[in-house]
Protein backbone atom coordinates (compact mmCIF):
# COMPACT_ATOMS: atom_id res chain seq x y z
CA UNK A 1 0.00 0.00 0.00
CA UNK A 2 1.43 3.32 -1.09
CA UNK A 3 0.08 6.74 -0.32
CA UNK A 4 0.35 9.88 -2.42
CA UNK A 5 0.62 13.53 -1.49
CA UNK A 6 -3.14 14.09 -1.81
CA UNK A 7 -3.71 11.40 0.83
CA UNK A 8 -1.08 12.98 3.07
CA UNK A 9 -2.87 16.32 2.79
CA UNK A 10 -6.25 14.73 3.49
CA UNK A 11 -4.97 12.95 6.61
CA UNK A 12 -3.36 16.18 7.78
CA UNK A 13 -6.60 18.06 7.24
CA UNK A 14 -8.65 15.42 9.12
CA UNK A 15 -6.13 15.62 11.97
CA UNK A 16 -6.22 19.46 11.84
CA UNK A 17 -2.48 19.67 11.19
CA UNK A 18 -1.28 22.42 8.83
CA UNK A 19 1.46 21.26 6.44
CA UNK A 20 3.25 23.02 3.57
CA UNK A 21 3.72 21.41 0.15
CA UNK A 22 7.36 20.76 0.97
CA UNK A 23 6.37 19.06 4.22
CA UNK A 24 3.74 17.01 2.41
CA UNK A 25 6.33 15.81 -0.08
CA UNK A 26 8.73 14.85 2.70
CA UNK A 27 5.92 13.20 4.67
CA UNK A 28 4.88 11.14 1.63
CA UNK A 29 8.31 9.52 1.52
CA UNK A 30 8.48 8.99 5.28
CA UNK A 31 5.00 7.52 5.60
CA UNK A 32 5.56 5.14 2.67
CA UNK A 33 8.79 4.07 4.34
CA UNK A 34 6.97 3.32 7.60
CA UNK A 35 4.14 1.48 5.85
CA UNK A 36 6.59 -0.60 3.81
CA UNK A 37 8.44 -1.54 6.96
CA UNK A 38 5.25 -2.53 8.81
CA UNK A 39 4.02 -4.49 5.81
CA UNK A 40 6.83 -6.97 6.33
CA UNK A 41 4.65 -8.36 9.13
CA UNK A 42 2.32 -9.59 6.40
CA UNK A 43 4.93 -12.21 5.52
CA UNK A 44 4.25 -14.10 8.75
CA UNK A 45 1.61 -16.81 8.40
CA UNK A 46 -0.94 -16.23 11.21
CA UNK A 47 -3.55 -18.69 10.02
CA UNK A 48 -5.40 -20.03 13.05
CA UNK A 49 -3.66 -17.69 15.49
CA UNK A 50 -5.94 -15.68 17.78
CA UNK A 51 -5.22 -11.94 17.61
CA UNK A 52 -3.35 -10.88 20.75
CA UNK A 53 -4.75 -7.88 22.60
CA UNK A 54 -2.22 -7.63 25.42
CA UNK A 55 1.30 -8.90 26.03
CA UNK A 56 0.42 -10.21 29.45
CA UNK A 57 -2.75 -12.21 30.21
CA UNK A 58 -5.13 -9.51 31.32
CA UNK A 59 -8.81 -8.71 31.09
CA UNK A 60 -10.76 -5.49 31.08
CA UNK A 61 -11.57 -4.24 34.56
CA UNK A 62 -14.96 -2.68 35.22
CA UNK A 63 -15.84 -0.03 37.79
CA UNK A 64 -18.86 0.03 40.12
CA UNK A 65 -21.59 2.54 39.40
CA UNK A 66 -20.67 4.89 42.24
CA UNK A 67 -20.41 8.67 41.87
CA UNK A 68 -17.05 10.22 42.76
CA UNK A 69 -15.81 6.98 44.40
CA UNK A 70 -12.28 8.08 43.56
CA UNK A 71 -11.77 11.87 43.57
CA UNK A 72 -9.21 11.54 40.80
CA UNK A 73 -11.79 10.20 38.37
CA UNK A 74 -14.88 11.94 39.82
CA UNK A 75 -16.61 15.25 39.16
CA UNK A 76 -17.12 18.38 41.29
CA UNK A 77 -13.82 19.92 40.28
CA UNK A 78 -14.86 22.63 37.89
CA UNK A 79 -11.97 24.94 38.76
CA UNK A 80 -9.45 22.22 37.89
CA UNK A 81 -11.26 21.33 34.69
CA UNK A 82 -11.40 24.97 33.55
CA UNK A 83 -7.93 25.92 34.82
CA UNK A 84 -6.24 25.72 31.42
CA UNK A 85 -9.13 27.09 29.37
CA UNK A 86 -8.12 30.32 27.61
CA UNK A 87 -11.63 31.80 27.80
CA UNK A 88 -13.61 30.26 30.66
CA UNK A 89 -16.76 32.30 31.40
CA UNK A 90 -19.55 31.74 33.93
CA UNK A 91 -18.41 28.17 34.46
CA UNK A 92 -18.37 27.35 30.73
CA UNK A 93 -15.54 26.90 28.26
CA UNK A 94 -15.78 29.81 25.83
CA UNK A 95 -14.87 28.90 22.23
CA UNK A 96 -15.13 30.78 18.92
CA UNK A 97 -18.74 30.62 17.81
CA UNK A 98 -19.48 27.29 16.10
CA UNK A 99 -22.99 27.07 14.74
CA UNK A 100 -24.60 25.01 12.02
Amino acid sequence: MAIDQATVRKIASLARIAISDAEAAAMEGELNGILGWVEQLGEVDVTGVEPMTAVIPNSLRLRDDVIDADPLTGGNRRDDVLANAPAAQHGFFGVPKVIE
Binding site: A87, H90, F92
Partner: protein, 495 residues
Protein backbone atom coordinates in the same frame (compact mmCIF):
# COMPACT_ATOMS: atom_id res chain seq x y z
CA UNK B 1 -31.00 -5.03 -2.46
CA UNK B 2 -34.70 -5.87 -2.43
CA UNK B 3 -36.18 -6.75 0.94
CA UNK B 4 -38.62 -9.63 1.23
CA UNK B 5 -39.86 -10.23 4.74
CA UNK B 6 -41.57 -6.90 5.25
CA UNK B 7 -45.33 -6.43 5.45
CA UNK B 8 -46.65 -4.17 2.75
CA UNK B 9 -47.65 -0.70 3.84
CA UNK B 10 -50.07 1.29 1.74
CA UNK B 11 -48.45 4.62 2.60
CA UNK B 12 -47.47 6.36 -0.65
CA UNK B 13 -46.17 9.75 -1.68
CA UNK B 14 -48.12 10.86 -4.73
CA UNK B 15 -45.69 12.49 -7.13
CA UNK B 16 -46.39 13.96 -10.55
CA UNK B 17 -45.10 10.83 -12.26
CA UNK B 18 -46.77 8.29 -10.01
CA UNK B 19 -46.58 6.82 -6.52
CA UNK B 20 -43.49 6.48 -4.34
CA UNK B 21 -42.77 4.31 -1.34
CA UNK B 22 -40.77 5.53 1.65
CA UNK B 23 -38.05 3.43 3.29
CA UNK B 24 -37.09 4.35 6.85
CA UNK B 25 -34.38 3.23 9.24
CA UNK B 26 -33.80 4.75 12.68
CA UNK B 27 -30.72 5.06 14.86
CA UNK B 28 -31.97 5.81 18.34
CA UNK B 29 -29.56 7.14 20.93
CA UNK B 30 -30.80 6.27 24.39
CA UNK B 31 -29.07 7.55 27.50
CA UNK B 32 -28.32 4.64 29.82
CA UNK B 33 -29.74 5.06 33.32
CA UNK B 34 -26.73 5.02 35.64
CA UNK B 35 -25.38 7.05 38.54
CA UNK B 36 -21.95 7.59 37.05
CA UNK B 37 -20.64 8.03 33.51
CA UNK B 38 -19.53 5.28 31.12
CA UNK B 39 -15.80 5.62 31.78
CA UNK B 40 -15.53 7.89 34.84
CA UNK B 41 -17.03 8.40 38.28
CA UNK B 42 -18.63 11.78 37.51
CA UNK B 43 -22.41 12.04 38.05
CA UNK B 44 -24.94 11.92 35.20
CA UNK B 45 -27.96 13.73 36.73
CA UNK B 46 -29.71 16.19 34.42
CA UNK B 47 -29.72 19.94 35.14
CA UNK B 48 -26.55 20.42 37.23
CA UNK B 49 -24.48 23.62 37.16
CA UNK B 50 -22.27 23.69 34.04
CA UNK B 51 -19.07 21.64 34.17
CA UNK B 52 -19.61 20.48 37.75
CA UNK B 53 -20.12 16.86 36.67
CA UNK B 54 -16.90 16.61 34.73
CA UNK B 55 -13.95 14.47 35.78
CA UNK B 56 -10.45 14.75 34.47
CA UNK B 57 -11.27 11.71 32.32
CA UNK B 58 -14.29 13.43 30.73
CA UNK B 59 -12.29 16.60 30.11
CA UNK B 60 -9.70 14.44 28.30
CA UNK B 61 -6.78 15.52 30.46
CA UNK B 62 -3.55 13.82 29.34
CA UNK B 63 -2.79 10.49 30.96
CA UNK B 64 -6.31 9.69 32.11
CA UNK B 65 -7.51 6.14 31.45
CA UNK B 66 -11.13 5.10 30.82
CA UNK B 67 -12.55 2.29 33.01
CA UNK B 68 -16.01 1.04 31.94
CA UNK B 69 -18.94 1.28 34.35
CA UNK B 70 -20.31 -2.26 34.90
CA UNK B 71 -23.88 -0.99 35.31
CA UNK B 72 -23.87 0.67 31.87
CA UNK B 73 -22.76 -2.60 30.28
CA UNK B 74 -25.36 -4.51 32.28
CA UNK B 75 -28.18 -2.20 31.19
CA UNK B 76 -27.21 -2.46 27.53
CA UNK B 77 -27.11 -6.27 27.79
CA UNK B 78 -30.54 -6.34 29.51
CA UNK B 79 -31.91 -4.10 26.75
CA UNK B 80 -30.50 -6.50 24.15
CA UNK B 81 -32.17 -9.42 25.89
CA UNK B 82 -35.48 -7.51 25.96
CA UNK B 83 -35.44 -7.28 22.14
CA UNK B 84 -34.40 -10.94 21.94
CA UNK B 85 -31.08 -10.01 20.43
CA UNK B 86 -27.86 -11.92 20.24
CA UNK B 87 -25.57 -10.84 23.11
CA UNK B 88 -21.89 -10.82 22.19
CA UNK B 89 -19.80 -12.13 25.07
CA UNK B 90 -16.77 -10.62 23.38
CA UNK B 91 -17.00 -7.02 22.20
CA UNK B 92 -14.61 -4.15 21.84
CA UNK B 93 -14.44 -0.38 21.96
CA UNK B 94 -13.22 1.69 19.01
CA UNK B 95 -12.27 5.31 18.61
CA UNK B 96 -14.34 7.41 16.22
CA UNK B 97 -12.17 10.40 15.39
CA UNK B 98 -13.47 13.88 14.64
CA UNK B 99 -12.97 17.41 15.85
CA UNK B 100 -15.73 19.43 17.39
CA UNK B 101 -15.89 21.84 20.33
CA UNK B 102 -18.16 19.50 22.31
CA UNK B 103 -15.70 16.57 22.09
CA UNK B 104 -12.60 17.22 24.22
CA UNK B 105 -10.92 13.88 23.43
CA UNK B 106 -11.00 14.48 19.69
CA UNK B 107 -12.62 11.06 19.43
CA UNK B 108 -15.72 9.34 20.72
CA UNK B 109 -15.27 5.91 22.29
CA UNK B 110 -17.83 3.75 20.50
CA UNK B 111 -18.17 0.21 19.13
CA UNK B 112 -18.02 -0.13 15.35
CA UNK B 113 -16.54 -3.53 14.58
CA UNK B 114 -17.66 -5.65 17.53
CA UNK B 115 -20.84 -4.27 19.16
CA UNK B 116 -22.09 -5.58 22.51
CA UNK B 117 -25.51 -6.54 21.13
CA UNK B 118 -26.24 -8.07 17.73
CA UNK B 119 -29.36 -8.84 15.72
CA UNK B 120 -32.78 -8.55 17.44
CA UNK B 121 -36.25 -7.15 16.79
CA UNK B 122 -39.39 -5.65 18.24
CA UNK B 123 -43.02 -5.80 17.13
CA UNK B 124 -45.27 -2.81 16.59
CA UNK B 125 -48.98 -3.39 17.22
CA UNK B 126 -51.62 -3.14 14.55
CA UNK B 127 -53.26 0.25 14.27
CA UNK B 128 -55.86 0.25 11.53
CA UNK B 129 -56.42 4.02 11.74
CA UNK B 130 -52.69 4.69 11.30
CA UNK B 131 -52.45 2.37 8.30
CA UNK B 132 -50.81 -0.54 10.16
CA UNK B 133 -53.26 -3.37 9.35
CA UNK B 134 -51.43 -6.08 11.31
CA UNK B 135 -48.64 -6.35 13.90
CA UNK B 136 -45.28 -5.83 12.22
CA UNK B 137 -41.83 -7.01 13.22
CA UNK B 138 -39.10 -4.38 12.89
CA UNK B 139 -35.57 -5.70 12.75
CA UNK B 140 -32.87 -4.24 14.99
CA UNK B 141 -29.40 -4.66 13.56
CA UNK B 142 -27.35 -3.94 16.66
CA UNK B 143 -26.98 -2.03 19.91
CA UNK B 144 -23.62 -0.60 20.80
CA UNK B 145 -22.43 1.40 23.78
CA UNK B 146 -20.74 4.77 23.34
CA UNK B 147 -19.98 8.10 24.99
CA UNK B 148 -22.18 11.15 24.68
CA UNK B 149 -20.59 14.50 23.76
CA UNK B 150 -20.84 17.80 25.65
CA UNK B 151 -23.40 20.51 25.06
CA UNK B 152 -22.88 23.73 23.10
CA UNK B 153 -24.80 26.94 23.73
CA UNK B 154 -24.71 29.54 20.99
CA UNK B 155 -26.99 32.26 22.33
CA UNK B 156 -25.17 33.35 25.47
CA UNK B 157 -22.45 35.53 23.96
CA UNK B 158 -22.17 37.56 20.72
CA UNK B 159 -18.98 35.96 19.41
CA UNK B 160 -18.50 32.84 21.48
CA UNK B 161 -20.16 29.48 21.98
CA UNK B 162 -20.22 28.12 25.52
CA UNK B 163 -19.32 24.50 26.21
CA UNK B 164 -20.76 22.47 29.09
CA UNK B 165 -19.15 19.04 29.43
CA UNK B 166 -21.59 17.64 32.02
CA UNK B 167 -23.01 15.31 29.37
CA UNK B 168 -19.58 14.43 28.02
CA UNK B 169 -18.89 10.76 28.68
CA UNK B 170 -22.44 9.83 29.72
CA UNK B 171 -23.27 6.32 28.44
CA UNK B 172 -25.48 6.00 25.39
CA UNK B 173 -26.91 2.97 23.68
CA UNK B 174 -27.12 3.40 19.94
CA UNK B 175 -29.97 1.20 18.79
CA UNK B 176 -29.84 0.72 15.02
CA UNK B 177 -32.96 -0.54 13.24
CA UNK B 178 -33.13 -2.30 9.91
CA UNK B 179 -34.65 -0.21 7.09
CA UNK B 180 -37.95 -2.02 7.77
CA UNK B 181 -40.35 0.90 8.22
CA UNK B 182 -42.51 2.18 5.37
CA UNK B 183 -44.53 5.08 6.78
CA UNK B 184 -44.27 7.88 9.35
CA UNK B 185 -46.86 6.03 11.46
CA UNK B 186 -44.74 2.86 11.55
CA UNK B 187 -41.68 4.87 12.57
CA UNK B 188 -43.69 6.63 15.28
CA UNK B 189 -44.99 3.29 16.56
CA UNK B 190 -41.45 1.89 16.56
CA UNK B 191 -40.07 4.77 18.66
CA UNK B 192 -42.98 4.52 21.10
CA UNK B 193 -42.57 0.76 21.44
CA UNK B 194 -38.81 1.02 21.88
CA UNK B 195 -39.28 3.73 24.50
CA UNK B 196 -41.81 1.56 26.31
CA UNK B 197 -39.42 -1.43 26.36
CA UNK B 198 -36.49 0.71 27.58
CA UNK B 199 -38.64 2.06 30.41
CA UNK B 200 -39.87 -1.41 31.43
CA UNK B 201 -36.28 -2.65 31.46
CA UNK B 202 -35.20 0.47 33.33
CA UNK B 203 -32.18 1.01 31.07
CA UNK B 204 -33.28 4.49 29.90
CA UNK B 205 -35.82 6.92 31.36
CA UNK B 206 -37.13 7.68 27.85
CA UNK B 207 -37.40 11.38 28.61
CA UNK B 208 -37.26 12.91 25.14
CA UNK B 209 -37.63 16.52 26.36
CA UNK B 210 -34.42 16.18 28.38
CA UNK B 211 -32.67 14.52 25.46
CA UNK B 212 -32.51 11.03 27.01
CA UNK B 213 -33.74 9.64 23.69
CA UNK B 214 -33.09 11.09 20.26
CA UNK B 215 -33.17 9.63 16.79
CA UNK B 216 -31.18 9.89 13.58
CA UNK B 217 -33.74 9.37 10.84
CA UNK B 218 -32.66 7.67 7.60
CA UNK B 219 -35.08 8.22 4.73
CA UNK B 220 -35.09 7.19 1.08
CA UNK B 221 -37.80 6.81 -1.55
CA UNK B 222 -38.35 4.33 -4.37
CA UNK B 223 -41.01 3.05 -6.72
CA UNK B 224 -43.02 0.43 -4.80
CA UNK B 225 -41.10 -2.85 -4.77
CA UNK B 226 -38.06 -1.32 -6.49
CA UNK B 227 -34.52 -1.30 -5.08
CA UNK B 228 -33.57 1.04 -2.25
CA UNK B 229 -32.92 4.65 -3.25
CA UNK B 230 -30.17 6.91 -1.90
CA UNK B 231 -30.85 7.90 1.72
CA UNK B 232 -30.35 11.02 3.76
CA UNK B 233 -29.80 11.07 7.50
CA UNK B 234 -31.48 13.73 9.65
CA UNK B 235 -29.67 14.03 12.98
CA UNK B 236 -30.85 14.41 16.57
CA UNK B 237 -34.63 14.44 16.21
CA UNK B 238 -36.04 14.56 19.72
CA UNK B 239 -39.74 13.69 19.66
CA UNK B 240 -42.03 11.11 18.07
CA UNK B 241 -43.96 13.91 16.37
CA UNK B 242 -40.77 15.38 14.88
CA UNK B 243 -39.58 11.94 13.68
CA UNK B 244 -42.85 11.58 11.78
CA UNK B 245 -42.67 15.15 10.44
CA UNK B 246 -39.08 14.64 9.25
CA UNK B 247 -40.04 11.50 7.31
CA UNK B 248 -43.05 13.10 5.70
CA UNK B 249 -41.16 16.25 4.71
CA UNK B 250 -37.97 14.54 3.63
CA UNK B 251 -39.82 11.96 1.48
CA UNK B 252 -41.72 14.73 -0.30
CA UNK B 253 -38.52 16.70 -0.85
CA UNK B 254 -36.77 13.66 -2.34
CA UNK B 255 -39.70 12.85 -4.65
CA UNK B 256 -39.83 16.43 -5.92
CA UNK B 257 -36.06 16.40 -6.41
CA UNK B 258 -36.08 13.15 -8.42
CA UNK B 259 -39.15 14.06 -10.47
CA UNK B 260 -37.53 17.42 -11.23
CA UNK B 261 -34.64 15.57 -12.87
CA UNK B 262 -32.24 15.74 -9.92
CA UNK B 263 -30.93 13.01 -7.67
CA UNK B 264 -30.73 12.55 -3.92
CA UNK B 265 -27.32 13.14 -2.38
CA UNK B 266 -26.31 10.94 0.54
CA UNK B 267 -25.85 13.58 3.22
CA UNK B 268 -26.48 14.58 6.81
CA UNK B 269 -29.38 16.94 7.41
CA UNK B 270 -30.69 18.96 10.31
CA UNK B 271 -34.35 19.39 11.29
CA UNK B 272 -35.70 22.83 12.10
CA UNK B 273 -38.93 22.34 14.08
CA UNK B 274 -39.92 26.01 13.79
CA UNK B 275 -40.00 25.84 9.99
CA UNK B 276 -40.81 22.11 9.88
CA UNK B 277 -38.13 21.45 7.28
CA UNK B 278 -34.74 19.78 7.01
CA UNK B 279 -31.62 21.37 5.59
CA UNK B 280 -28.20 20.09 4.60
CA UNK B 281 -25.35 20.20 7.13
CA UNK B 282 -22.60 20.82 4.59
CA UNK B 283 -19.90 21.12 7.23
CA UNK B 284 -20.28 17.42 8.03
CA UNK B 285 -19.65 16.27 4.45
CA UNK B 286 -15.93 15.79 4.77
CA UNK B 287 -16.12 14.66 8.38
CA UNK B 288 -17.45 11.20 7.53
CA UNK B 289 -13.95 9.80 7.42
CA UNK B 290 -13.85 8.87 11.09
CA UNK B 291 -10.71 6.73 10.91
CA UNK B 292 -12.07 4.20 13.39
CA UNK B 293 -9.56 2.00 15.17
CA UNK B 294 -9.66 -0.15 18.33
CA UNK B 295 -9.15 2.01 21.43
CA UNK B 296 -5.71 1.04 22.77
CA UNK B 297 -6.74 2.22 26.26
CA UNK B 298 -9.34 -0.52 26.55
CA UNK B 299 -9.01 -4.29 26.45
CA UNK B 300 -11.82 -6.29 24.82
CA UNK B 301 -14.97 -6.53 26.94
CA UNK B 302 -15.56 -10.16 27.90
CA UNK B 303 -18.72 -11.21 29.73
CA UNK B 304 -19.12 -14.43 31.70
CA UNK B 305 -22.20 -16.64 32.02
CA UNK B 306 -22.96 -15.54 35.58
CA UNK B 307 -23.12 -11.89 34.46
CA UNK B 308 -25.46 -12.77 31.59
CA UNK B 309 -27.63 -14.96 33.82
CA UNK B 310 -28.10 -12.10 36.30
CA UNK B 311 -29.04 -9.76 33.42
CA UNK B 312 -31.68 -12.19 32.20
CA UNK B 313 -33.11 -13.00 35.63
CA UNK B 314 -33.47 -9.34 36.50
CA UNK B 315 -35.68 -8.57 33.47
CA UNK B 316 -39.29 -7.72 34.36
CA UNK B 317 -42.34 -8.91 32.42
CA UNK B 318 -42.11 -6.96 29.15
CA UNK B 319 -44.91 -5.09 27.31
CA UNK B 320 -45.70 -7.86 24.78
CA UNK B 321 -45.93 -10.58 27.44
CA UNK B 322 -47.99 -8.36 29.70
CA UNK B 323 -50.34 -7.44 26.88
CA UNK B 324 -50.81 -11.13 26.00
CA UNK B 325 -51.55 -11.93 29.65
CA UNK B 326 -54.16 -9.15 29.84
CA UNK B 327 -55.81 -10.33 26.60
CA UNK B 328 -55.88 -13.84 28.07
CA UNK B 329 -57.78 -12.49 31.07
CA UNK B 330 -60.47 -11.12 28.74
CA UNK B 331 -59.32 -7.49 28.72
CA UNK B 332 -60.02 -5.71 25.41
CA UNK B 333 -57.14 -5.08 22.99
CA UNK B 334 -57.63 -1.34 23.34
CA UNK B 335 -57.49 -1.43 27.14
CA UNK B 336 -54.50 -3.80 27.06
CA UNK B 337 -52.63 -1.35 24.82
CA UNK B 338 -53.46 1.61 27.05
CA UNK B 339 -52.52 -0.25 30.24
CA UNK B 340 -49.20 -1.60 28.96
CA UNK B 341 -47.89 1.48 27.12
CA UNK B 342 -46.39 3.13 30.20
CA UNK B 343 -44.63 0.99 32.76
CA UNK B 344 -46.01 2.98 35.71
CA UNK B 345 -49.62 2.37 34.65
CA UNK B 346 -48.92 -1.33 34.07
CA UNK B 347 -47.35 -1.72 37.52
CA UNK B 348 -50.26 0.13 39.16
CA UNK B 349 -52.74 -2.11 37.35
CA UNK B 350 -50.85 -5.27 38.32
CA UNK B 351 -50.93 -4.21 41.98
CA UNK B 352 -54.67 -3.65 41.63
CA UNK B 353 -55.08 -7.21 40.30
CA UNK B 354 -52.92 -8.59 43.09
CA UNK B 355 -55.21 -6.81 45.56
CA UNK B 356 -58.05 -8.96 44.24
CA UNK B 357 -59.78 -6.83 41.58
CA UNK B 358 -61.42 -8.65 38.67
CA UNK B 359 -59.36 -8.03 35.50
CA UNK B 360 -62.02 -6.88 33.03
CA UNK B 361 -63.91 -4.61 35.42
CA UNK B 362 -60.62 -3.27 36.78
CA UNK B 363 -59.29 -2.51 33.27
CA UNK B 364 -62.46 -0.63 32.33
CA UNK B 365 -62.40 1.30 35.58
CA UNK B 366 -58.71 2.26 35.34
CA UNK B 367 -58.83 3.37 31.70
CA UNK B 368 -62.02 5.42 32.14
CA UNK B 369 -62.58 6.47 35.77
CA UNK B 370 -59.03 6.60 37.12
CA UNK B 371 -57.33 8.03 34.01
CA UNK B 372 -60.19 10.53 33.66
CA UNK B 373 -59.73 11.68 37.26
CA UNK B 374 -55.92 11.88 36.97
CA UNK B 375 -56.30 13.90 33.79
CA UNK B 376 -58.69 16.28 35.52
CA UNK B 377 -56.36 16.64 38.50
CA UNK B 378 -53.25 16.96 36.30
CA UNK B 379 -51.50 14.13 38.11
CA UNK B 380 -49.48 11.10 37.05
CA UNK B 381 -50.47 7.60 38.01
CA UNK B 382 -47.33 7.38 40.14
CA UNK B 383 -48.81 10.01 42.47
CA UNK B 384 -52.43 8.96 42.19
CA UNK B 385 -54.44 10.10 45.23
CA UNK B 386 -56.07 6.65 45.34
CA UNK B 387 -53.86 3.58 45.82
CA UNK B 388 -54.38 0.26 44.01
CA UNK B 389 -55.43 -1.34 47.30
CA UNK B 390 -58.07 1.37 47.89
CA UNK B 391 -59.29 0.96 44.31
CA UNK B 392 -59.55 -2.80 44.79
CA UNK B 393 -61.80 -2.18 47.81
CA UNK B 394 -64.08 0.05 45.72
CA UNK B 395 -64.27 -2.44 42.84
CA UNK B 396 -64.93 -5.23 45.35
CA UNK B 397 -68.01 -3.36 46.61
CA UNK B 398 -69.36 -3.18 43.05
CA UNK B 399 -68.52 -6.80 42.33
CA UNK B 400 -70.36 -8.15 45.39
CA UNK B 401 -73.40 -5.97 44.72
CA UNK B 402 -72.96 -3.71 47.77
CA UNK B 403 -73.09 -0.62 45.53
CA UNK B 404 -74.06 -0.01 41.91
CA UNK B 405 -71.73 1.27 39.23
CA UNK B 406 -73.37 4.68 39.40
CA UNK B 407 -72.89 4.95 43.15
CA UNK B 408 -69.29 3.75 42.69
CA UNK B 409 -68.58 6.91 40.68
CA UNK B 410 -69.84 9.04 43.59
CA UNK B 411 -67.82 7.04 46.09
CA UNK B 412 -64.70 7.41 43.95
CA UNK B 413 -65.14 11.20 43.88
CA UNK B 414 -65.38 11.18 47.69
CA UNK B 415 -62.26 9.01 47.87
CA UNK B 416 -60.37 11.52 45.75
CA UNK B 417 -61.57 14.38 47.95
CA UNK B 418 -61.07 12.84 51.36
CA UNK B 419 -58.60 9.99 50.92
CA UNK B 420 -60.99 7.76 52.91
CA UNK B 421 -61.63 4.11 52.10
CA UNK B 422 -64.58 3.08 49.92
CA UNK B 423 -66.39 0.97 52.51
CA UNK B 424 -66.13 3.73 55.12
CA UNK B 425 -67.63 6.25 52.70
CA UNK B 426 -70.46 3.90 51.72
CA UNK B 427 -71.32 3.34 55.41
CA UNK B 428 -71.05 6.99 56.38
CA UNK B 429 -73.12 8.28 53.47
CA UNK B 430 -75.62 5.42 53.54
CA UNK B 431 -74.96 4.53 49.93
CA UNK B 432 -75.39 0.80 50.28
CA UNK B 433 -77.47 -0.67 47.50
CA UNK B 434 -80.67 -2.21 48.67
CA UNK B 435 -82.30 -5.44 47.50
CA UNK B 436 -85.07 -4.90 50.01
CA UNK B 437 -88.05 -5.92 47.85
CA UNK B 438 -90.60 -4.34 50.18
CA UNK B 439 -89.06 -0.86 49.90
CA UNK B 440 -88.59 -1.17 46.16
CA UNK B 441 -92.13 -2.44 45.59
CA UNK B 442 -93.51 0.51 47.56
CA UNK B 443 -91.66 2.95 45.28
CA UNK B 444 -92.72 1.06 42.17
CA UNK B 445 -96.36 1.31 43.22
CA UNK B 446 -95.97 5.09 43.62
CA UNK B 447 -94.27 5.45 40.23
CA UNK B 448 -96.96 3.43 38.46
CA UNK B 449 -99.75 5.35 40.19
CA UNK B 450 -98.24 8.68 39.16
CA UNK B 451 -97.89 7.59 35.52
CA UNK B 452 -101.11 5.78 34.69
CA UNK B 453 -101.10 7.04 31.10
CA UNK B 454 -97.65 5.56 30.46
CA UNK B 455 -98.65 2.29 32.10
CA UNK B 456 -101.56 2.08 29.67
CA UNK B 457 -99.26 2.83 26.72
CA UNK B 458 -96.82 0.18 27.91
CA UNK B 459 -99.54 -2.38 28.20
CA UNK B 460 -100.75 -1.33 24.75
CA UNK B 461 -97.39 -2.48 23.34
CA UNK B 462 -95.00 0.45 23.81
CA UNK B 463 -92.38 -1.66 25.53
CA UNK B 464 -89.64 0.92 25.24
CA UNK B 465 -91.27 2.64 28.21
CA UNK B 466 -89.85 -0.04 30.49
CA UNK B 467 -86.60 1.95 30.73
CA UNK B 468 -88.57 4.98 31.86
CA UNK B 469 -90.08 3.04 34.77
CA UNK B 470 -86.68 1.69 35.76
CA UNK B 471 -85.26 5.22 35.70
CA UNK B 472 -88.11 6.64 37.80
CA UNK B 473 -87.84 3.85 40.35
CA UNK B 474 -84.06 4.22 40.62
CA UNK B 475 -84.50 7.98 41.06
CA UNK B 476 -87.06 7.41 43.80
CA UNK B 477 -84.61 4.99 45.45
CA UNK B 478 -81.81 7.61 45.15
CA UNK B 479 -79.82 5.23 42.99
CA UNK B 480 -79.42 2.75 45.81
CA UNK B 481 -81.71 0.00 44.54
CA UNK B 482 -80.19 -3.10 43.07
CA UNK B 483 -80.96 -2.67 39.33
CA UNK B 484 -81.57 -6.38 38.79
CA UNK B 485 -84.14 -6.52 41.58
CA UNK B 486 -85.84 -3.38 40.23
CA UNK B 487 -86.09 -5.02 36.80
CA UNK B 488 -87.62 -8.18 38.15
CA UNK B 489 -90.13 -6.41 40.40
CA UNK B 490 -91.16 -3.99 37.65
CA UNK B 491 -91.76 -6.82 35.20
CA UNK B 492 -93.98 -8.48 37.78
CA UNK B 493 -95.87 -5.27 38.57
CA UNK B 494 -96.47 -4.46 34.91
CA UNK B 495 -97.05 -8.02 33.75
Amino acid sequence: MVDENVTESTYRIKGETGEWEVVIGLEVHAQVTSNAKLFSGAATAFGAEPNTQVSLVDAAMPGMLPVPNRECIRQAVRTGMAIEAQINKWSRFDRKNYFYADLPQGYQISQLYHPLVGEGSLTIEEDEKAGIPEPKRIGIERIHVEQDAGKLMHDQHPTMSYVDLNRSGVALMEIVSRPDMRSPAEAGAYVRKLRSILRYVGSCDGNMEEGSMRADVNVSVRRPGDEFGTRTETKNVNSVRFVMAVIEGEAKRQVELIEGGGSVVQETRLYDPDRNETRSMRSKEDAHDYRYFPDPDLLPLELDDAFLAECRESLPELPDAKRARYLGEGISAYNADVLTAEVEAARWFDTLLEAGAKPVAAANWVTSELFGALNRLGRDISDSPVSPVQAAELLGLVADGTISGTIAKQVFEKMLETGDGAAAIVDREGLKQTSDTGAIEAEIAKVLAANEDKVAQYKGGKEALFGFFVGQTMKAMQGKANPQVVNELLKKALG
